[in-house]
Amino acid sequence: MKTRGIWIVLTLVAVAVVIFLSLRRGGPRVPQAYLYDVEQYREAETQVPLPYKETARWPLALREPRAVAVKGDGPVVVVGDRVALVLDAAGEELRRIELADEPRCVAVADVVYVGFLDRIVAYGLDGEKQAEWETLGEQAYLTGLAILGDEVFATDYGQRVVWRFDAEGKMRGRIRSASKSDGFVFPSPTFDVAADGDGLWVVNSGRRRVEQYSPQGKRGTMWGRSSMELDGFSGCCNPTHIAVMPDGRFVTTEKGLPRVKVYAADGTFAALVAGSVQLGQDAGLLDVAVDAAGRILVLDAADRSIRIYEEQPDDG
């Protein structure tokens, strides 16, 4: 009688243990409804041809590279870590210019203009400091530089204006949005400018479009649409950077779904240069420049390198 009770008890324990163990297996799974899913948009990137190939990658000895610029077919300048590196067209380091502060953006013609948070400093290609321009105030937060003729334009994310300087650093004026309801919106510091014969091309990232301005600040055409599809700009604030190709086409870069894309001169989508498969899903802001030969230089800060893309007919 007594022993039978014990065996019943033991059986109970054993059953409990078995149930317990069997339920432990696997562990809780996260329901699909809780997962953020942009896979279909990444998938779309793999469905289109990639006419541009990464032909070289220049590793940079910088912890945090910030911006890249190129002068025609001449030197390439990269800034970051309080230094500006001047590279030749093959990526070999020609010169190293020590900077006093953390650089934010750069433009290069015969002079290297380095944009800091609130001011621009000009250096010669030989590394000689030529001039330090006046500060733009406490609110300033420079994010992009462009050279048009003998004038320099700087985008100021903090004050939502594009500053206009002459070559000596004298302020000539500023470009600001005409109306607030259709003006510049920058949820994050993604405000870039590029220049070509038609004037300035300013990224209005909060509205996912590129706007053309005359040097005097008159708005011209604009292009770009908000979409997760390949031909539009995804996310809340894209594109992040822009460059103009010698033939008038545009190169844009995007964050979120990292993409480098080429748009025709009229703003229609032309090609995907690289997507998240090539750049990695965690690529940050990608600055971009184009040299006279049409090579696209993408600054991959996460990879600490410059990726060179060239159009190639087909590899057969």
């Binding site: 007594k2 008890v9 109970l12 317990f20 339920l23 432990r24 997962l35 937060y141 949820p187």
Partner: protein, 433 residues
């Protein structure tokens, strides 16, 4: 420097602050310690001086309500052993003073006055105590066999905490989910099953699982004062024999010995000679066991995942390997860390297994010693000081009667019944002889 300048609001919109609710203030933790100390003091007085089950039950319910349902189980002395073990193994981890006191106070009490903590303060014990309905007596062999489990559990839990692999005891705490009214299904089944079992096998968790109980038992085995069944001398009435639901009352040893002395001595000698072998076997088992158990460590888990991926097994989303790659840590470092954990557990398991082997060997040898016992007395190590046996003792009834008025209370009613029983029992014995 603000990274994101405020949008140019013109409507006078003011950015709201992020609202946070403060954590429970530190003062409350101090209150917990004070209450614990107070409860231990009151409990000790109830068990050793007052000697009434009613008071102990009241204390038990109060503690169950406060430490169990109000404080919802954390931190408890049972879990605190792991914090202490982790602090010993990891110089980067400091035990908060509160936790240290939670660990020490019940042990010190046990060292001087027996397991008062188990009797009426531990919420895990209390919830099992109130579900005891019809306790069965377990045979001695079963008690001895199952009695190894808590020591084993203690060892495994301490080693894992020492190596920083997590808190096993907290993870498999069966009752904390009941206190919070929120538990995973497996834990609910585990806790519910134990309670169901607890209706017939009294306090199964306390006796056959609780790791802190092992430490308390050791301390209690060499305690200064202790619970006794009788307030003065034992009259050998045998009435208390069935009083203890935990089989912790030891009966007097028989007049004539069942086995010749020399054969006992010889066997004891044999076990003592076997000790090193047992320790070695224990060490080997421990090392092996701990090496396997290292798999529960997150660092080892990560490397296992990486290995599986290398073999082509896709990890699911949200896996450790995915986060690991995002962190940019080097794989060699991760592997070195995991190997270190494994090695540490392996070594610690070797030592601990050896210790277990030794302890069981000594227990085996001890079982061969015929210890003479003349009176009915609670087992020093296993008595939970619940006070159930008091009312069964006629001498205790006498004491209470002398001390109390002639009012016909529940107690005196019980006494009458018991004395009547006693007479009957003595009568049968005389009749037989």
């Amino acid at each position: 420097m603000i990274r994101f300048p405020k949008p140019d609001f013109e409507s006078g919109y003011v950015l709201p602050e992020t609202q946070t609710v403060a954590a429970r203030a530190a003062g409350w933790e101090t209150l917990d310690v004070v209450l614990l100390a107070l409860a231990l003091a009151v409990g000790t007085w109830l068990v050793l001086k007052h000697r009434r089950r009613g008071g102990i039950v009241a204390l038990m319910l109060a503690c169950l309500a406060y430490f169990g349902f109000y404080r919802e189980g954390c931190v408890c002395p049972v879990g605190s052993i792991q914090n202490v073990a982790q602090a010993l193994g990891d110089s980067g981890y400091g035990v908060p003073l509160v936790v240290l006191l939670f660990f020490l106070l019940p042990l010190l009490t046990a060292l001087f006055f027996g397991r008062t903590f188990c009797a009426g303060i531990c919420p895990l014990g209390a919830i099992q105590d109130i579900v005891i309905v019809k306790p069965v007596r377990l045979p001695a062999w079963l008690r001895h066999a199952l009695g190894v489990i808590p020591t084993l559990y203690l060892g495994v839990a301490l080693l894992l905490a020492y190596a920083g692999a997590g808190y096993l005891v907290c993870r498999y705490d069966p009752f904390v989910g009941l206190f919070r009214l929120s538990a995973t299904l497996p834990m609910l089944i585990f806790g519910g099953g134990l309670l169901l079992l607890g209706t017939v096998v009294a306090r199964p968790y306390c006796r056959f699982l609780c790791p802190y109980g092992v430490l308390l038992g050791w301390a209690s085995a060499c305690s200064w004062k202790r619970v006794t069944v009788t307030p003065n001398d034992c009259v050998q009435c045998r009435l208390c024999e069935t009083a203890c639901p935990f089989d912790a009352i030891r009966v007097p040893s028989p007049e004539r010995e069942s086995e010749a002395r020399w054969s006992r001595v010889r066997r004891m000698g044999l076990y003592l000679v076997l000790l090193p072998a047992l320790a070695l076997a224990g060490g080997w088992t421990g090392a092996r066991l701990m090496r396997e158990l290292a798999a529960v460590d997150p660092r080892v888990e990560l490397v296992a995942e990486l290995d599986a991926e290398a073999l082509g097994v896709k990890a699911e989303s949200g896996s450790r390997s995915e986060a690991f790659r995002a962190s940019g840590m080097s794989e060699a470092a991760a592997r070195a860390e995991a190997d270190e954990v494994k090695l540490r557990l392996h070594r610690a398991g070797l030592g601990f297994g050896g210790f277990i082997g030794l302890a069981v060997g000594l227990q085996l040898a001890g079982l061969s010693i015929g210890r003479r016992r003349v009176d009915y007395e609670p087992d020093r190590q296993h008595c939970l000081a619940c006070g159930r046996c008091f009312a069964y003792c006629p001498r205790e009834q006498q004491r209470r009667k002398q001390g109390s008025t002639t009012e016909d209370t529940e107690d005196t009613k019980g006494t009458r019944r018991l004395l009547c029983n006693m007479k009957r029992a003595v009568g049968t014995r005389e009749g037989r002889s």
